[in-house]
């Protein structure tokens, strides 16, 4: 470092004045590790009489609490230029107070003439900072544990609900009722699936591709008898959406896929179902299509079932448009939503 050339007495006086007035606790020592000055902040913090400092060794400061052989040997190494003390941590122990955590830094001061050696030792008290850090870490850990516990309970509760529904479905006599109970079971699994995706991401947003992939695998596993005949595929872009919207989208997919599996392939007919989600320009589109038999005219006019009501209600909640087309080549349901704002994702409409 370049420095002005000052006469030695002035330089010494200036150095002592700088140290004494420093707001950070520090000590100035000579090449024999004799104390030359202590900052007022040091004397305050460690209850040392300022007048008692000059001429003493560090070890004899106060009532022996600075008698730290390790620090002394590090200071000697600093003087001889073999090492420097960088962020060396010690426990400061006094009989009349709690233990404090100190961080020491020592630096040899280079003077132009090199005849005199000085060492500057700065001391920062990090007791409070460490305590706050620890409290913060404990809180973060505690929060993570609580979240995990909550997630765990939710998953367990959903399993109980799913188990009860499946048991009812297995034991009920009426085929129609059994169908309804199975549908309810699928809806529960659909919500569980999004719950799991949320727990994995922990960002409050759900990536649609892994979510819909898992969802469709789950529906397929329990509803498709012969996988060589009926396939269920997903084609989902990289979109991620807010948690609330993802629940709605997942339930819509669940209903549409169940509906296709139930009605599109009568009498053991082969077929494919495709679930697609893509952001296209300023809009997104969710499409569930099949190459099945299409809807019979009486189905189109028949009173809507719960599944249809759910799809319509959730589409409305998302603020989207629903378009259904059906022919002898299959059925296609498209839900689109134009997104005018920068947020190109399904948002819940305020109720």
């Amino acid at each position: 470092m370049a420095a002005l050339s000052l006469p030695p007495e002035i330089a010494n006086g200036l150095a002592l004045a700088i140290v004494a007035s420093s707001s950070a606790p520090m000590l100035l020592l000579d090449g024999h590790l004799k104390l030359l000055a202590a900052s007022a902040s040091f004397c305050d913090a460690f209850q040392i009489a300022p007048a008692s400092v000059p001429g003493q060794q560090l070890a004899s400061l106060g009532s022996g609490e600075w008698d730290l052989p390790q620090v002394a040997s590090l200071l000697r190494a600093t003087v001889s230029g073999d090492a420097a003390i960088e962020a060396y941590e010690i426990d400061y122990v006094r009989d009349d107070g709690p233990v404090r955590r100190l961080v020491l830094n020592a630096q040899k001061l280079d003077f132009a003439d090199g005849t005199k050696l000085y060492v500057l030792l700065s001391i920062s008290d990090v007791t409070e900072a460490r305590l706050i850090e620890k409290v913060k870490e404990d809180l973060v850990r505690e929060k993570a544990v609580l979240l995990q516990e909550l997630q765990h309970r939710v998953a367990n509760s959903l399993q109980i609900i799913a188990s009860v529904l499946m048991q009812s479905a297995r034991t009920v006599q009426s085929d129609e009722t059994r169908g309804y109970l199975r549908d309810a079971h699928h809806r529960i699994m659909s919500v569980a699936s999004v719950q799991r995706q949320l727990a994995v991401t922990r960002q409050g947003r759900v990536e649609l591709r892994p979510y819909f992939t898992e969802l469709c695998a789950s529906i397929g596993a329990s509803m498709i008898r012969d996988r060589t005949k009926v396939t269920l595929d997903v084609d989902i872009d990289n979109s991620s959406v807010a948690a609330e919207a993802s629940v709605s989208l997942g339930l819509i997919v669940t209903e549409l896929v169940i509906n296709a599996l139930k009605h599109a392939f009568p009498n053991g007919r082969d077929g494919k179902i495709l679930v697609r989600y893509a952001v296209e320009g300023p809009a997104w589109a969710l499409t569930v299509s099949d190459d099945g038999a299409g809807m019979s005219p009486d189905k189109k006019t028949a009173k809507a079932g719960l599944g249809t009501s759910i799809v319509e209600a959730l589409t409305a909640q998302l603020g989207g448009d629903l378009n259904l087309s059906s022919s002898s080549n299959g059925t296609k349901v498209v839900i689109t939503k134009k997104v005018a704002t920068a947020a190109r994702e399904p948002e819940l409409r305020a109720v």
Binding site: H152, A155, N156, Q159, I160, S163, M166, R196, A199, A221
Partner: protein, 127 residues
């Protein structure tokens, strides 16, 4: 392979879940034994030499949890195929017994049955 030859022990402290999965596995053609905790499970395993599949929850009251039970079963009855289930999202691979699988809750009975058949088939196929 006839699934009748497969005898599963379901270990789950939550009665409704245990009844549900036991019923579904029975419908799938498995012979099913049930235990509400690891200690009861070990007693059953000792008494019923035919048990060759284990489905266990992780968090259960008693002297050991599902992972400890799974480790003990892997050790004492090495041929038993093991599936561990939990409300936890994922568990560490090292916590699973060798060859074991993990199912996050809620799981599908049909998926558990398929996994057991799959694990059994793996064992039968030549390496």
């Amino acid at each position: 392979m006839a699934s009748q030859s497969w005898v599963v022990l379901v270990v789950e402290d939550e009665t409704l879940i245990r009844m549900g999965i036991a019923g579904e596995l029975a419908d799938e053609g498995f012979t099913v034994f049930e235990a509400a905790n690891a200690d009861a499970a070990l007693v059953l395993l000792q008494a019923e030499a035919s048990i060759n599949l284990l489905l266990t929850d992780i968090d259960m009251p008693g002297s050991m949890d599902g992972l400890k039970l799974a480790a003990a079963v892997r050790n004492r009855w090495p041929p038993v195929k093991i599936i561990v289930a939990s409300g936890q999202i994922r568990i560490l691979e090292v916590d699973l017994p060798e060859g074991g699988r993990f199912f996050p809750k809620p799981y599908l009975g049909s998926a558990v049955a398929a996994a057991f058949r799959d694990m059994a088939a793996l064992q039968l196929s030549p390496i």
